[in-house]
Point group: C2
Chain length 110, copies 2
DNA sequence: AAAACAGTTTGACGCTCGTCAAACACTCGG
DNA sequence: CCGAGTGTTTGACGAGCGTCAAACTGTTTT
C-alpha cells in the first residue's frame, strides 16, 4: 500500500544544492542514480548494476547518503525496501537540474 | 594578450561529470563558482566573496580543484592569474548543466 | 639589487569518507 | 517456533580532503 512507512528524508524545501552535488559526486552513487532514473522502484540489491564487488553494507551506506541528501526516497514494505528517485521534488526545488545531470551522464566520450 | 600561458586543465572532451559534481559539492568552491558566473576574469584574491576567513593557500587549493575538474580556466599574466568559467566548454560537453546549477543556486529557501 | 607582490607548493594536522566484517533488527515461509 | 531472507547499524581501518603555516617561485617596483 502507499501508506507504508518511509525512511527519514529531508523535506523538499530543505534539499540543499551543495549536498546534492556532493552526494552525486561519487561514482557508486552516480551508478545508483542512473539505475533509478527509469522512475521505478528498486530493491537494495545492486546485482545487475555493476556493483557486485561492493559489500552490502557499503551499498546501504551509499543509499543512505542519497536519501539523506534528498535525491531518493525509500518505502518500507515488509522485509523489502523500495528505493526511487524524488523526481518531482527535485524538479520543484531545482528545475532542470536532474534532467541536465541525466543527460550529461549519457554524454559521449571523444 | 590571449596567448598568455594557461595552467593545466583537462580537454573539453575529458571533462568528467562525476568529477565536476564532486568539485562543486563543496561550499567554498560553490561560492567561487557563483562569483565566476558573471563570465568575467577574476584574480585569486577572494576578498569580497565572504571567504576572507580562509588562508590564501586554501583558496589556491580550491581553485586548483575547480581547474583540474574542468570548471575553470586560469590565464597567467605576469604575477597575476585570472580565473574564469569554462562556460562554452561546459555547455558543449554537458548541455544545460551549468545553467541548471546556477539557477538552482538561486533557489529560495522555504 | 632589494623589497614588495601574487600566488603555489609542501608538510602537517584533524576530520570525513569509502570500504569491509560482524552483529543486529525485522519479516516471511516452513 | 525456527531458520532463511533483506537490509541496517556499528566499529574498525586506510585513504582522501580541507585547513593552516611556512617556504618557495616568479614578477614588478623602487
Amino acid at each position: 500500500m502507499s501508506d507504508d512507512e518511509r525512511l527519514a528524508q529531508p523535506a523538499t524545501a530543505d534539499i540543499d544544492l551543495v549536498t546534492v552535488l556532493h552526494a552525486l559526486g561519487d561514482p557508486v552513487r552516480m551508478t545508483l542514480l542512473l539505475s533509478y532514473a527509469d522512475g521505478g522502484e528498486h530493491s537494495c540489491d545492486p546485482r545487475g548494476l555493476g556493483l557486485e564487488h561492493l559489500h552490502k553494507s557499503t551499498v546501504s551506506h551509499h543509499m543512505r547518503v542519497l536519501r539523506e541528501s534528498g535525491v531518493t526516497t525509500t518505502r518500507v514494505a515488509g522485509r523489502n525496501r523500495f528505493v526511487s528517485l524524488r523526481r518531482a521534488d527535485l524538479d520543484a526545488r531545482f528545475p532542470g537540474l536532474l534532467d541536465a545531470i541525466l543527460t550529461a551522464s549519457a554524454a559521449p566520450l571523444p
